[in-house]
């Protein structure tokens, strides 16, 4: 059943959610919007296009502690770090980013090998998807339509939200979401017109214009394999690349990490931190050999991982077309253009 509230009452809604657990929602920061743990309900701000960093950190934080230990002591005395999670509400996630969670799920828990940290955080979370504003054009960098994602797709959300003027329409997509909405007493029932608006909006969202090229998963995967050795192509498209880690760190789908032991005095912590295929030490072997030293090799790896290896391994492209990598690239490298060119190559 469709519920509604007004944008004015957003702080009340936020406060309700904060009572029940941890609320993560977009907040205006100096460099743009980002998801933050909300301490003050008034901070929640839905007047954003999309966040600078993707919401993946909600389930895959940049730093995750695994084990605490003391140097010089037996390994038996090491203490695993337990996640004691309160229910988490991830509020205001754009459809393309919601889609990224389902793609990441395959990797972290979908193949029998389960990452307990990802899984626990996922299970504790209720996702409030939030449709893009269809009355505003998509941003130049975005291309989620190419990946088959609509601007108002509710799939993957527990609750899906659409804004209608000063109102916010909310619909439970999953049982969990529906149940939650019924508990939120400040929500009122929506009218039949609003119900129709909501359903139409979702359909309109599928035709919403972003950059588009026809891309069949299998074709692009194969094509990229075919041109693997075409180093002229890769050199050309990576000529400007600095091999920094911005694109991978803002990406909702990049999941590479490093495990490191960080000690101070005798106290050690084994933790996971984000890593990036762009970094020098990413493929550095213990022998000192590094199979991927050149910039073009690194960029090739990144693109092939998303559009080829991931398709081969998990049957789906590991990109949702959110455009963050392009938008934040210091030298304006555009993955969409590279994929387009690769198809022509």
């Amino acid at each position: 059943m469709l519920k509604k509230t007004t944008i004015d009452k957003l702080p009340d809604l936020a406060a309700h959610l904060m009572e029940q657990g941890t609320l993560l929602a977009p907040v205006q920061e100096a460099a743009g919007f980002n998801f933050q743990v909300i301490a003050d309900a008034k901070q929640v701000d839905l007047n954003f296009h999309n966040t600078v960093l993707s919401p993946k950190a909600a389930f895959f934080p940049q730093m995750e502690d695994f084990v605490r230990y003391q140097t010089g002591k037996s390994i038996l005395e090491a203490v695993p770090v337990e996640l004691n999670l309160k229910p988490t509400f991830l509020f205001g996630v754009r459809p393309c980013d919601v889609k990224s969670f389902t793609i990441m799920d395959i990797h972290f828990s979908g193949t029998g090998l389960v990452d307990p940290y990802w899984q626990k955080r996922r299970q504790a979370a209720t996702i409030f998807g939030y449709a893009f504003d269809l009355d505003q054009p998509a941003q130049a960098e975005e291309f989620y339509k190419t990946l088959g994602i609509g601007a108002a797709d509710p799939d993957g959300s527990d609750v899906f939200m659409i804004r209608k003027g000063g109102d916010l329409l909310l619909k439970g997509v999953t049982l969990k979401g529906e149940k939650l909405l019924t508990q939120l007493s400040l929500l009122t029932a929506a009218s039949a017109d609003e119900e129709k608006y909501f359903e139409d909006y979702i359909i309109r969202g599928r035709d919403f214009k972003t950059r588009f090229t026809f891309l069949a998963d299998k074709n692009i995967a194969k094509k990229l394999e075919d041109i693997f050795h075409d180093s002229d192509f890769w050199m050309k498209v990576s000529g400007a690349c600095l091999s920094c880690g911005v694109c991978t760190f803002v990406c909702p789908n990049c999941y590479c990490f490093d495990i490191c032991d960080e000690t101070l005095f005798s106290q050690g912590i084994r933790r996971r931190v984000w890593d990036a295929c762009m970094f020098t030490d990413f493929t550095l072997e213990a022998s000192g050999h590094n199979p991927r030293t050149q910039v073009f090799q690194k960029l090739r790896q990144k693109i092939k991982h998303k559009y080829s290896y991931h398709v081969r391994k998990y049957g789906v492209i590991s990109c949702v077309g959110c455009g963050r990598c392009t938008k934040h690239c210091p030298v304006n490298i555009d993955i969409f253009s590279i994929v387009e060119e690769a198809m022509k190559a």
């Binding site: 730093m63 760190f249 803002v250 030490d281 934040h328 304006n332």
Partner: protein
């Protein structure tokens, strides 16, 4: 009268084509079209026909000196340089990373460059505030004159006037934002170390996790490594996805180095970088 971006672009195309055609250089580092007009990209022209793809507009902020060290010794390269970029080239020559005779510097006298992220005009607030290249072989346009001469260090006054505790809080907040994507060092023409000290495991200078202390160690050490070398192009700050105003710290260190050692970075080929140099009569006062 300063030349328009279009005029400079045309000259750049012509010059690049000529240099590639005559074989004077094998590579021209310039700018090319990006995914839209506001987002041009560094572009590497290798064939005379590539020169047609060259663009130059107010968003061509990237410091192309960054790419010089990628090429094998002896490669003849023409590189398009704006004011700060030319200082980076001079600094690289001082450090013997590139040779003057291998380079043809195509000077771009450019006023009114804009940050493509924010649209803001780039001036002495965030860069060295020069508009004409310090060193070039060919100047592709009229020199920029008549712009107000502003010290690139004026912007520091408010931060220097801060109480030290407030200043610490300011920087802590900024450095805590850091996600360690290393765009700053990768965009920097002077950061050519590979691996960077912070990438190393033995010892680990700063923790890899993006926490306050590791971030602080990374940034402070990097400021020291760039002391007397940073040419204040501001690329690090423009590259930063979380908008840390690194340029402020770099400016401060540059200002101190200039005052203590009497030498600005990247101004003369024959200078020696100040931190691998000394004067017997350096004053002990600099330690106070």
């Amino acid at each position: 009268m300063a030349s328009s971006f279009k005029q400079i672009e045309d000259k750049l195309k012509t010059e690049a084509k000529k240099l590639l055609k005559t074989g004077q250089v094998s590579v021209v580092l310039a700018y090319g079209k990006g995914y839209d007009d506001n987002h041009p990209m560094p572009y590497i022209a290798k064939l005379p026909s590539d020169a047609d793809n060259i663009v130059f507009n107010e968003y061509c902020t990237h410091n192309l000196a960054r790419y010089l060290v990628r090429y094998p010794k002896g490669t003849k390269i023409a590189v398009a340089v704006k004011a700060a970029d030319s200082r980076a080239v001079i600094q690289l020559i001082q450090e013997e990373k590139v040779k003057r005779e291998d380079l043809i510097l195509l000077g771009l006298p450019a006023y009114g460059m804009k940050n493509s992220k924010t649209g803001e005009i780039i001036d002495s607030q965030t860069t060295c505030g020069l508009y004409n290249p310090v060193l070039y072989d060919t100047l592709l346009g009229e020199e920029v004159h008549g712009q107000p001469v502003v010290s690139p260090y004026d912007v520091l006054a408010q931060y220097e006037a801060m109480d030290k505790d407030a200043r610490f809080e300011f920087w802590k907040k900024e450095f805590d934002k850091c996600i360690r994507c290393y765009a700053c060092r990768k965009a920097c023409p002077m950061c050519y170390c590979d691996p960077c000290f912070i990438d190393q495991n033995n010892p680990r200078w700063g923790e890899k996790s993006p926490q306050s202390h590791g971030n602080l160690m990374y940034h402070l050490t990097r400021f020291h490594h760039l002391a007397g070398r940073c040419i204040d192009c501001g690329e690090c700050s423009r590259a930063c996805p979380v908008d840390i105003p690194l340029y402020l710290f770099h400016k401060k260190v540059a200002k101190e180095c200039e005052e203590m050692f009497g030498q600005a970075s990247g101004m003369r080929i024959d200078d020696k970088p100040v931190l691998v140099n000394f004067r017997v009569d350096d004053s002990d006062k600099i330690l106070e």
